[in-house]
């Protein structure tokens, strides 16, 4: 391999293994260890831990403690152990002390060099490197912008170096190297390493010493439109600059005389994720993890087993909700309070694949799942609203003269605002409200008049496109007949204040935006008379008076915003009003259920007061947990509502409606699972890894975070960008893999997952666990070792609870699965 090939190879490796987290404005959940996904789950975890030193499992003490407390059941553990259950191995598992020390391979080469040199290169180079990259990429914090001349990162640096009063470097050599246009990365590596056998390991070590910035540069390189203000940069350029800074630091520290890796004759390594050690700790932890997961899964399956499906009759109202786990409890409360309300679940972009451009905005935002490349655009047309800037963020406060005046005057206003923010939190300019996404009174260009944007996007959808969107969504959730007069399209978004990760709180299926535009667009389509006609031809029996009503659920405040109510026919106004009062009660109950997790609220209050406290969290500057988001997610149930309706799943489940009887070929199922795997699987594994290693795979505590260039957060001013989820989001999460339970014949499920290789990988490599429930035989089949095999439920029956809110009151711990009684059905 030549040096050039070696560098290309490293770039290829880095592309896979560096964190792929987008800038803050677009937060998208994904499997943190996606690069290991072609390996079976446990092997992937071992490889990641051995290569990078991540903690990929919980510590042994975590499992043992749960075992002692009965949260890992003995029979399940025995079953996971199989034949080993009777041997001394089980005793080792429970009692023996193991060395859990991790010594990563990546980083070892340069760390040996560091010891030999007696010089910590990274602490010298990182601060200035980070500052240069973050200043260059900065999207609007610095007041004097980084001077860019239409070139790329390195050319901007070169111009600064040439024109500046002072040099970037301490010595002459690095400056000359930078200004030499023919110089390549290979040349710099030759100076540093002295031998090309080190190239791969050296660059891996170097870049993984700061995965945050390397990952961000790579994201911007691969996806330049992720930034509002374009910043051409590449990972290779970053490496180039870093090598230069390293040469300069070494020259300065050792007065030009220092030894390369070759001079020390250091041993290098090859990067290979297939080469695993035989360290027994991984086998032990894999067993514990399986036993931990199956103890929980078994409870769920026990609950699902004996459900007698009730007949789908005529309902007064129906609601189509997002698959999101945060809607799981709200649907339960609505059903419990409203005897004739049916709920459905489907990914919350509601089949609308488009960009959205608000009135007066210069940018478009994607409102469908991240991997989709939309060809349509929805425009907002509204009366323009003036948006005031907040003076506290303005450049003037940093100036000398104006700052002098402002501190004397405005400074005292700050004190007042601070006092108000603490004693009387209310909506303010720091709040990101779910309703800000789109103006409530605006018109949306949903119907296409054939217009195209200059860059080739179609504005709106044609009748045929609309029909297809509506019909395929309704078919996939099994809602093809028995339409109620009112069908609510319930999208969701979230409100929070002082929250850098706000985008991670909105709808994942809408690329981290609230789903309000999607709900309105879908309702528009489904209400459109011509679309209705076509739907009727396709066999959807929708009564002429049936009205689709778009709604936005604020998952933090537990509030509904209704849209386009002027479209609702007069005959349905009364029913709408009645439904709204049901919703109000259900939202209150949902807020009360959620409030048990927020210990600072205190339980001894009326329901209305608790709801008010929950709402306050969205506007409080001092609240690092406005809501708990997807924490505790562990399940995805794909089936009719009757399949899981009477179970209390403690907001753990993604619920996707699906009627096996209407989909014998598994075509709809294929579509559902193609979305479930990356969206729900991505959320679940990001939570899993942020939970088990919050320091390296998560973002650590958010309390000291500092915003860098509007792109990401870092600790202090010299730290690397932090990826993954902050500790406040994952602390109550249980590290379970996602269990997908599908109500369908195993053969159909098996065929459905195998039609798409990337979906198949998630299930087949067991990064997501899959169970099929054969509706005819009433038996479970679990996917393992490449096929379905029968699963026997261990637990017999579930505890029954009649009033769940009373049972939950005062407890903040994760609650077991129970069967709910006296539910209206």
């Amino acid at each position: 391999m030549t040096e050039k090939q070696a560098i290309a190879h490293v770039l290829h490796v880095l592309e896979h293994y560096l964190p792929s987290q987008a800038p803050l404005k677009d937060f998208i959940h994904h499997n943190t260890l996606h690069a290991f996904q072609d390996l079976p789950f446990h092997q992937g975890l071992q490889a990641a831990q051995e290569l990078f030193g991540y903690q990929t499992y919980a510590p042994l003490s975590f499992y043992r403690e749960r075992y002692r407390e009965g949260q890992i059941s003995e029979p399940i553990l025995d079953r996971v152990l199989g034949q080993k259950a009777q041997s001394g191995f089980k005793n080792d598992l429970i009692n023996r002390t193991f060395d859990e020390t991790t010594i990563p391979i990546v980083g070892s080469l340069r760390s040996n060099w560091k010891v030999q040199l007696g010089f910590d290169l990274d602490t010298r180079v990182h601060p200035i490197l980070f500052r240069l990259v973050s200043s260059y990429l900065d999207q609007g914090i610095s007041i004097w912008k980084f001077p860019i001349d239409g070139g790329d990162f390195l050319s901007a640096i070169r111009v600064l170096e040439q024109e500046g009063f002072s040099s970037l470097f301490n010595g002459k050599r690095a400056r000359q190297l930078l200004l030499n246009p023919t110089l390549t990365l290979q040349d710099l590596l030759q100076i540093l390493t002295g031998n090309q056998i080190y190239t791969e390991a050296y660059l891996l070590d170097q870049q993984f010493a700061h995965p945050g910035y390397s990952g961000m540069v790579l994201q911007v390189e691969k996806n330049p439109q992720a930034l509002i203000q374009p910043r051409p940069i590449s990972l290779e350029q970053l490496m180039f600059l870093e090598c230069l800074l390293e040469i300069d630091a070494l020259d300065q520290h050792f007065n030009q005389r220092w030894k390369t890796l070759h001079d020390f004759e250091l041993a290098t390594y090859t990067f290979d994720k297939h080469q695993l050690t035989t360290n027994e700790i991984f086998g032990i932890k894999a067993i514990w993890q399986e036993a931990y997961e199956w103890t929980f899964y078994d409870q769920v399956l026990a609950g699902l087993q004996y459900k007698a499906p009730f007949s789908d009759g005529q309902y007064q109202a129906q609601g189509i909700f997002c698959i999101d786990d945060r809607e799981c409890s709200l649907r339960r409360h609505i059903e419990a309070l409203h005897p004739s309300f049916a709920t459905f679940g489907t990914p919350g972009h509601f089949n609308i694949e488009a960009y959205f451009q608000p009135e007066g905005a210069s940018q478009r935002t994607k409102i469908c799942p991240a991997p989709v490349k939309p060809t349509h655009l929805i425009l907002e047309k509204s009366i323009g609203t003036k948006r005031n800037a907040e003076l506290h963020f303005s450049a003037q406060t940093y100036g000398l003269v104006f700052g002098w005046i402002l501190t004397h005057t405005y400074g005292f206003w700050s004190a007042l605002k601070l006092a108000l923010a603490i004693f009387k939190p209310s909506i303010n300019k720091m709040t990101v409200a779910s309703t800000q996404h789109m103006h409530k009174a605006s018109q949306l260009s949903v119907w296409s008049e054939g217009q195209m944007t200059p860059d080739g996007l179609q504005i709106g959808f044609t009748i045929d496109e609309m029909t297809k969107i509506v019909s395929s969504l309704l078919k996939s959730i099994g809602l093809t007949s028995n339409f109620a007069p009112l069908v609510y399209m319930v999208a969701h978004g979230s409100s929070s204040s002082n929250n850098t990760h706000y985008a991670g709180y909105d709808c994942g299926a809408c690329s981290g935006r609230p789903g309000s535009v999607n709900a309105r667009a879908f309702a528009y389509m489904a209400n459109h008379p011509t679309v209705r006609q076509q739907l009727r031809i396709l066999g959807f029996d929708i009564a002429a008076h049936t009205q689709f009503v778009p709604v936005l659920h604020d998952t933090c405040r537990d509030e509904f915003s209704f849209y386009d109510l002027d479209q609702v026919p007069v005959s349905l106004i009364d029913q709408l009003a009645a439904d709204r009062s049901f919703f109000k009660k259900a939202l209150e109950a949902n807020a009360v259920e959620r409030s048990r997790r927020f210990i600072t609220i205190g339980a001894q209050k009326s329901k209305a007061a608790l709801h008010q406290q929950v709402k306050l969290r969205s506007v409080s500057l001092f609240e690092p947990r406005p809501e708990l988001n997807h924490a505790t997610n562990a399940l995805c149930i794909v089936g009719r509502r009757s399949f899981s309706r009477d179970l209390f799943l403690d907001r753990r489940a993604f619920l996707n409606s699906y009627d096996f009887s209407q989909d014998p070929e598994g075509l709809s199922l294929e579509g559902i699972l193609n979305a479930v795997a990356p969206v729900c699987g991505g959320i679940n594994l990001e939570y899993y890894f942020s939970r088990v290693d919050n320091h390296q795979l998560g973002a650590g505590t958010k309390l000291p975070h500092n915003v860098m260039g509007l792109l990401g957060v870092a600790n202090g001013i010299d730290g690397d960008l932090r990826t993954g989820l902050p500790s406040q989001m994952i602390e109550v999460h249980d590290p379970y893999r996602l269990l997908v339970v599908v109500e369908q014949v195993p053969q159909v499920v098996s065929a459905a997952i195998q039609r798409n290789p990337s979906t198949y990988e998630w299930f087949n490599r067991e990064w997501i666990r899959l169970v099929a429930f054969d509706p005819a035989e009433k038996a479970f089949f679990v996917w393992q070792n490449g096929g379905f095999s029968p699963y026997e439920v261990q637990q017999l029956g579930l505890p029954k609870v009649s009033d769940i809110l009373t049972s939950l009151a005062g407890s903040s711990a994760n609650f077991p699965v129970v069967e709910l009684q006296n539910q209206a059905s």
Binding site: Q55, P59, D99, E100, T101, T102, I103, D122, I128, S134, S135, D138, G140, I141, S142, I143, W144, P147, E161, G164, F165, S166, H210, G212, I228, S362, Q363, R387, H392, F393, T397, Y398, G399, L400, G403, W404, G411, F412, S414, K417, I422, K429, M430, Q436, N498, R625, H695, Q696, L703, P704, N706, V707, L710, N715, G716, I717, G719, D720, R722, E731
Partner: protein, 622 residues
């Protein structure tokens, strides 16, 4: 309300609350936070009520001697308090912000590991701040000054399992210690000028001023500059500015209140407190104006290129404090006080809402197509462009401190490697015996030699301190060298004047005791753990209690006001003659380096990423 009972209540509150908070349990979040915010709330109430009557009653300053800690015929160490306009404005500032921020933190820090530590440290900080602003003499002020330094160290290193907070805590602590030289030497000079420990009222009174300074204007100027060094270090003025953004490592509210407001304006407080002392010194006033303006210009330029929100706010604040220094130089104390209040409130609020800048600016950009500023056109813009790298590198201020102070020290310390651990005792024993023999047979030596001896032993002590500070291997050796440094200083001064041996006892008692405990702890730990000074070991993960005791040991060893050694230090200084500038300098410098060396030991052994990797470990760069 009488002034005395006001002061007692105002200082007693944080004192009591701090010790009470130590007794609470880790998970008693509510009790900890209620204790903290009611302390600040009561202080706020007190200062408002007292302030009202004080204004009505004619706004007269009150000074009184609280407690005489030690006195002999020509020396007295006493705690003294002073309440005037300056005190009350700073008390209002501190109490109102502490009150708001502690309530804020009550929720913000919920479930955070270290919740208790946070509120302990905040109360400790409050105590230090209160002592400073109420102090009536340099000694009392210095106690508060030291508490502020240590609590800042603990707050910056709050996330002690990560490398950067710990490194930056050490960095900030070093700058603070350098600033301390100013106060220590100023105290020494003032003592000689007045032949007693002087109060601020006496110092600032014009009459006594002229009397004492009529023959010594050079010394007056020197003292003024020493004040500036201390004030500049604490208020992040040139050349010390680069520490302030690096102090933003703790939870955002603590950064907001301490480095946005209370701590960073303490330098301005010192200049205001000593204003009447130097207001006749035209040279100094010109210097102060120039330094303030230069800081304002440079910090404001640096602030404009920052791509991180907290460093941007930090430099903007430094720039305004530069202007505050100018206002003080002109004698506009009321304007300066207004400016201090406004700047403190503004920066605190800006830091608190700093996470919101993401959503705010992104939304703003979505609706206004702001094009990046082209930096080409005018001459002004070309200048900005030429200065860009210099601004990004913060005018190399960090490097400057490194090159002018730390690198020379390292060279001195590592230049002589012969001092192995086994030899330390022998070498010291020889030096001590020689010293004592010399001391006992003084009569037989020439006056010339005797005059040189104190300097010789002080310099030897200084070398030992540097050696301790730069030691990279043995922890116990470094600890022992620190103890010997104090012994050498004590020995040096015994040649200087024949004073009461009780002075040595005061001085060395706390030092030797602390050393012995520390030595035992380390010896015990060495049996099971690998400890050395070549890296950060993070042993606090497994040894939280040992770590706490060792921190106390370090404080004792560095003459922190928890042992009698603190008084001893001051006593010892009173025996250095006005003509022995070299002796005074090396003694002061030794003490400073000693303090650094002890905190360095604590940080390296107990803080930073844990050396054992069986659990989640933060990346070094995180």
């Amino acid at each position: 309300m009488s002034t005395i009972s006001f002061i007692h209540a105002y200082i007693g509150l944080p004192l009591f609350a701090f010790f009470a908070s130590l007794l609470l349990k880790k998970r008693q979040e509510s009790a900890l936070s209620i204790l903290s915010y009611s302390t600040a709330g009561l202080q706020l109430g007190l200062v408002l009520i007292y302030g009202f009557f004080w204004l009505k009653g004619g706004s007269n300053p009150t000074q009184f001697k609280e407690l005489s800690v030690y006195s002999s015929e020509n020396y007295e160490f006493f705690i003294d308090f002073l309440v005037d306009k300056l005190t009350l404005v700073f008390a209002f500032l501190g109490a109102s912000l502490s009150f708001l921020i502690t309530i804020y933190s009550r929720y913000y820090l919920h479930r955070e590991e270290g919740y208790k530590r946070f509120f302990n440290t905040i109360l400790f900080f409050n105590l230090g701040y209160t002592l400073i602003i109420f102090s009536g003499n340099m000694e009392t002020l210095f106690i508060g000054w030291e508490i502020l330094g240590v609590s800042s160290f603990l707050l910056i290193a709050f996330y002690r399992e990560r490398l950067l907070p710990v490194k930056n805590a050490l960095k900030v602590f070093s700058v603070y210690r350098i600033g301390d030289i100013g106060i220590i030497l100023a105290m020494w000079l003032l003592h000689h000028l007045w032949h007693a420990n002087v109060t601020f009222t006496e110092m600032n009174a014009n009459v006594s001023m002229n009397h004492h300074l009529s023959n010594a204007t050079g010394i007056g100027l020197l003292i003024a500059f020493l004040f500036y060094v201390s004030a500049a270090a604490k208020s992040a003025q040139l050349p010390f500015s680069s520490w302030l953004p690096r102090a933003m490592e703790g939870p955002t509210p603590s950064s907001a209140i301490f480095y946005g407001s209370m701590s960073v304006h303490i330098g301005a407080f010192l200049m205001l407190r000593t204003m009447h002392f130097w207001e006749q010194q035209v040279v100094f006033k010109i210097f102060l104006i120039a330094a303030g303006l230069l800081t304002a210009l440079i910090a404001s330029a640096i602030s404009r290129v920052q791509s991180s929100i907290k460093s941007q706010i930090a430099y903007a604040s430094i720039a305004q404090i530069g202007l505050i220094f100018v206002e003080i130089a002109f004698g506009w104390d009321n304007l300066a006080l207004m400016h201090i209040l406004g700047n403190a409130f503004l920066r605190t609020y800006q830091l608190l809402i700093s996470p919101s800048i993401v959503s705010h600016k992104i939304r703003e950009q979505l609706y206004q197509n702001s094009s990046p500023l082209e930096l080409k056109d005018s001459y002004w813009q070309q200048t900005i462009r030429r200065l860009y790298i210099l601004n990004l590198k913060e005018w190399n201020l960090d490097l400057l401190l490194y090159r002018s102070i730390w690198n020379p020290l390292k060279r001195i310390g590592r230049g002589w490697k012969i001092l192995n651990f086994q030899y330390v005792f022998w070498v010291m024993a020889v030096v001590l015996i020689v010293g004592i023999v010399l001391r006992l047979n003084e009569a037989q030596f020439s006056a010339q030699l005797l005059h040189q001896l104190p300097f010789f032993f002080a310099f030897w002590g200084f070398l030992i301190a540097v050696k301790a500070f730069t030691e990279r291997d043995s922890v116990r050796k470094s600890l022992t060298l620190i103890m010997f440094n104090h012994v050498s200083i004590s020995l040096a001064l015994s040649f200087n004047e024949h004073f009461d041996n009780a002075h040595h006892a005061w001085y060395l008692s706390g030092i030797v005791l602390s050393w012995a405990i520390g030595y035992l702890l380390l010896t015990r730990m060495r049996k099971t753990e690998w400890i050395s000074l070549d890296n950060f070991y993070g042993h606090i993960y497994e040894y939280p209690k040992t770590g706490f005791v060792f921190l106390m040991v370090c404080l004792g060893l560095s003459g922190f006001p928890i042992t009698p050694s603190f008084v001893g230090e001051d006593l010892i200084f009173s025996h250095i003659h006005l003509s022995q500038v070299g002796l005074a300098f090396f003694t002061a410098f030794s003490l400073v380096i000693n303090g650094l060396a002890t905190m360095r030991i604590y940080a390296r052994v107990f803080l930073g990423p844990h050396i054992k990797t069986y659990h989640q470990i933060a990346k070094r760069s995180s």
